[in-house]
C-alpha cells in the first residue's frame, strides 16, 4: 500500500531539501577548521549533529501535519525542522549565529525555535518530550484542534523522562505521537548495549498505548504508519509510540569518525534519498524532468538560505544580555 503521489512527492522534496541543506552546512562547517579540526573555529562553530540518512523519518511524519500541530526535535534537528517547514533562511542564519536567525543567534543548531510553526528543540536527551506533551495538553484544555509530535532517538528511550511523560500521555489520553528514530546508536553505544528490549515500541504497552516498529528506513512505509498514529491522536484516542528504523550515515557529530562501528555495518549502509528518487521514477510517480525541476528549485532555496545566513550581520555583543525575560 502506497501513499498518495502528492504525499510521496512532498516527502521526496522534504528529504532532498534536508539533504542539500546538510550538504551545504557540512561544507561551510569545514571552513576554518583545517588543517587542524577545531570545533570553535570557522563560520559555523560548535557541535554539529547532521541528519544524513534520517530524512525519511521527518518527511513521513510531517507530511501529515498542519498549522495547528506542534513539533519538537532534539539535538539532531535539521531534517525535522526542514520537514516541519521552519523558515529556512532564518534557520540557516541561526546556525551561523546571525542577528537575522530564528533566535537572533542565541539558540544555535541544538536550540532551533520557530513559534510560527509551533516548532522547538532541546539539546538535553528526551527533555523535549514533556514540553511537547504539554503542548498537546494545552490543545486539549483549550479545546483547540492539533496534536503534538516529539522526535527522539532510540537512546532517549532509556531516559527517565520517556517513562514519566508517556505514562501521563497514556493516563490523560493526550493527542501525542512519540517518534523514535532508531539509528541503532547513541553516540558510540549501540542499542543492544543500551536497551534491555529489542524494540522500544514494545514499551508502549507499559503506558496503555499502541506501539509500532517500522523497518527499512522506507518513507512510504513510515508514512502509512505515521498516518495511523496521527489520525488516532486527532480522533482523541490518545498517544502512540512509533519507532522508525533508520540509518545514521555520518558520525555522531562532525568530527566523529564512527570508528566504533563494525566495518560490515558501515559497508551495508544504504542512502534513502537517491533510493527513494529511483523508486518514484520506477513507479512513474514523477518523470526525471519533473524531479529535476523540483531539485533545481529546492537547491536554489538552499543556496539562497546559505547566502542569507552568511551575509547577515552578527548580533552586537551586548545583545547577549537581552531577552532573558519577557
Amino acid at each position: 500500500m502506497r501513499p498518495e503521489p502528492k504525499q510521496r512527492l512532498w516527502m521526496y522534496e522534504a528529504m532532498f531539501r534536508s539533504r542539500q541543506l546538510d550538504t551545504a552546512v557540512l561544507a561551510a562547517y569545514r571552513e576554518g577548521k583545517t588543517p587542524v579540526f577545531h570545533m570553535g573555529k570557522g563560520p559555523l562553530p560548535g557541535e554539529m549533529h547532521q541528519s544524513f540518512g534520517q530524512e525519511p523519518c521527518a518527511a513521513a511524519v510531517c507530511v501529515h501535519l498542519g498549522p495547528d500541530d506542534a513539533v519538537a526535535a532534539g539535538h539532531r534537528p535539521h531534517h525535522v525542522a526542514v520537514a516541519r517547514g521552519v523558515d529556512l533562511q532564518r534557520m540557516v542564519a541561526e546556525l551561523f549565529g546571525k542577528q537575522t536567525g530564528l533566535s537572533g543567534g542565541r539558540g544555535g543548531h541544538m536550540h532551533l525555535y520557530d513559534a510560527a510553526v509551533n516548532f522547538f528543540c532541546s539539546g538535553i536527551i528526551a527533555e523535549s518530550m514533556g514540553p511537547a506533551a504539554g503542548m498537546a495538553l494545552a490543545r486539549k484544555m483549550q479545546r483547540k484542534p492539533g496534536i503534538a509530535v516529539a522526535f527522539v532517538g532510540e537512546g532517549a528511550a532509556n531516559q527517565g523522562a520517556f517513562h514519566e511523560v508517556l505514562n501521563m500521555v497514556g493516563l490523560w489520553k493526550l493527542p501525542f505521537v512519540l517518534v523514535i528514530e532508531d539509528n541503532n546508536y547513541g553516540v558510540s553505544v549501540s542499542k543492544r548495549e543500551s536497551t534491555a528490549v529489542e524494540r522500544n515500541s514494545d514499551r508502549a504497552s507499559a503506558y496503555a498505548m499502541p506501539g509500532e516498529y517500522v523497518e527499512g528506513n522506507d518513507p512510504d512505509l513510515f508514512c502509512v504508519a505515521a498516518g495511523r498514529a496521527i489520525e488516532r491522536a486527532r480522533r482523541g484516542e490518545g498517544g502512540t509510540v512509533l519507532e522508525l528504523q533508520t540509518e545514521r550515515l555520518q558520525g555522531h557529530f562532525i568530527g566523529d569518525s564512527s570508528g566504533y562501528r563494525p566495518q560490515d555495518e558501515r559497508k551495508a549502509m544504504r542512502d534513502p534519498v537517491p533510493e527513494y528518487r529511483q523508486r518514484l521514477l520506477n513507479e512513474t510517480v514523477a518523470s526525471a524532468t519533473e524531479l529535476g525541476a523540483l531539485e533545481k528549485r529546492v537547491q536554489q532555496q538552499v543556496d539562497a538560505a546559505m547566502q542569507f545566513g552568511r551575509e547577515s550581520e552578527y548580533p552586537a555583543p551586548e545583545q547577549a544580555l537581552e531577552r532573558l525575560y519577557a
Binding site: 533566535s103 523535549s128 514540553p131 523522562a161 531577552r323 525575560y325 519577557a326
Partner: protein
Amino acid sequence: MARSSAETNTSSAERTLTMARAGREAVLSEMRRNPNMFLIGEDIAKLGGVFGTAVGMADEFGIERVIDTPISETGFVGIATGAAMAGMRPIVEIAFVDFIGVCFNQIFNFAAKTHYMSGGQYKVPLTFMIGYGGGYNDAAQHSQTLFATLAHVPGIRIVAPADAHDAKGLMHTCLRDDNVTVWMMHKRLCGLGWLGFPLPTAMSSVPEADYTIPLGQSRVWREGTDLTLVGLGLTVHNSLLAAEQLASQGISAEVLDLRSVVPLDRDGIFRSVAKTGRLVVADEDYLSFGVTSEVLAVVAERDPSVLKAPAVRVAYPDVPVPFSRPMEEACLPSVERILAAARSVMKGSKR
C-alpha cells in the same frame, strides 16, 4: 512583569489571614480571571495540597484545571512548561523544595532558558508554589531551603514572602508575570496548625482586593541606625525578635526583608548598610555559595568601606539537616544566633 502595578494601598476591607490563606486568595482570584490558568502537581485536587495551598480549588474549578499528577516531577514540570509555551498559565505545586533534584533539568535548562534561547519567541508564564524550611524535625530530605540552588541559574524569578500581606501581593505578581516565577513559602510560616502556630508577625492583615508587589523591592520592617539585620521568610521574624531585645539594650537595629531573591534588591541592601555601617545576614539556606554570600558580596563590591565591622552570616551550616531536635535546633538561624552575631558586629573593630 506583564501587568505589574505599584504596590496598592487599597481602601477595601482587610482581614487577618495566614500566609497559606493569603496566597490561596491570590491564586483563586487569578484563576477566576484567567481561564488559561491551571494548577498541576501532586495531591492538590482531593487533598488541597500538602500545605493547604489548593484547598477547595478542585471544587470550584474542576479536576480539569486542578490536576493531580503521578509522582513524575520531570514529566509534569516539562508538561507544564510546554503548556505555558502554548498559551496556558500553569501553576506547578512542588510541596517540598527538596524534590527539585528530580526535575532540575526541566526547570533550569529548559523552562528558565526557553524565552532566551528562542530569542523571545516563546514565553513561559509558569509559577511554582514551593514549600521550604525546617524546624519541625523532618530531616535531611524534607527540610531544606535551597534558595541559591534555584537563584544561581539565570531565568527564574524567586520570591520568599515573610507575611500574609506579601504572600498575597507577591503571588499576584508571580501569576501576572510572563516568566518562570517561584513563590516559596516557609512551612513554619504557612499557618497550618500541624506545622506550628503561625507567628503573629506572619499572620498579617490583608486587603480583600487584588494587589501586586513589585519584584526586587526589599521591605524595611523596622528602621534602625546601628546595624542592619537582613533576612527573608522566617529569618525576618527571628530578626525582628532579635531587634526587640537589642533595642532594650540600646542598640538600634534595622530589619530588612529581601522579599525576592531574584531579582535581588542590591540598592536596598547597600543603602541600609551604608546607613548603619554594620551587617548581619540571616538565612536558613546553606552557608556557602548561598544568599548570605551574595548579600555580603554586594557590599564588598559596592563599597566595603561603609562597614564599621566585619559582616556576619547566620546561615544553615554546610551539613545536611539532622533529624534529632537538639542538633537541628543548633543549626537553624535562631534569634539567639542572630543576637550573638549582632553583638559581635557591635563589638567589631570601629574605625
